[in-house]
């Protein structure tokens, strides 16, 4: 009787704990999907079809300097997001990134068209691509 109660307790602990952890991770995944939908981090067709900007350590370093100068205020110094979204593992095309930098987004992000030219945008894109995990 004592043994069966012990086994029941351990089984219940494993089931409840596993369910709680699984539910939390599933909820997190759902929230990420919802956030990705609103911040355009889901893969788009052009992301798969368009060639990515060639990068080099120098270009990435230059992009990081520009990022810290203009973008870190909203996206965080490590680009993990603050007022603006997390920019790691972006699943959008280079053209989309360039469009975002040039035109911004109404009420959310200003345009940097006057501040950054094509070379700067390439450097910024290279830096953002360097934040991808794969």
């Amino acid at each position: 009787m004592k043994l069966s109660r012990g086994i029941l307790s351990i089984t219940a602990a494993a089931v409840v704990s596993g369910s709680a952890l699984g539910s939390a991770l599933a909820f997190g995944h759902w929230l990420q999907e919802a956030a990705a939908r609103s911040s355009h981090q889901r893969p788009t067709v052009d992301y798969w079809l368009e060639p990515v900007t060639p990068t080099s350590p120098g270009l990435i370093a230059q992009g990081r300097r520009l990022f810290l100068d203009s973008c870190a205020h909203c996206h965080g110094a490590d680009a993990s997001g603050d007022e603006g979204p997390d920019l790691h593992d972006l699943r959008v095309s280079d053209r989309y990134i360039a469009h975002m930098i040039v035109f911004g987004e109404p009420h959310q992000m200003p345009s940097f068209a006057k501040k950054y030219g094509a070379a700067d945008i390439t450097a910024l894109t290279s830096y953002l691509r360097s934040l991808e995990s794969s």
């Binding site: 004592k2 307790s9 219940a12 602990a13 759902w30 956030a35």
Partner: protein
Amino acid sequence: MDSTIWAKAHGATTHFPLALALCSAAFDAAGFALARQPIGGDLRAAGYWTMIIGAMGTVPAVLSGLLMTKGTVLGHDALRMHHVYVWPAFALVVALGTWRLFQGRNATRQAFAGYLILAGIAAGLMSAAAYWGGEMMIAR
């Protein structure tokens, strides 16, 4: 809606399970050591309730954290370190609370010694998670 509401909610909810789990481990360890004295039973009772309430308290803490980070389950840098400790701590504290609830006062001394080791590990994991949570606050 206030965009910082979940950050505030996380700050408000996260300290309860942390404090309760640490207190529970301390009460139970003391109760285990003083098992032959009258106060031993009281300490075990205090350890029981603090673990049960602490395990229940992990749910709002985890939910508010997920909502605050828009569902990030690992993240980067300090947030990653926070999560590396949070997830095993969450699973372990819920498991310990559930085991305690089902087992009641019927655990053998040997089983309770095993529980105490796991409660100590859970307290360590929660403290490490809290440390990295604090690092994030300082960074901001």
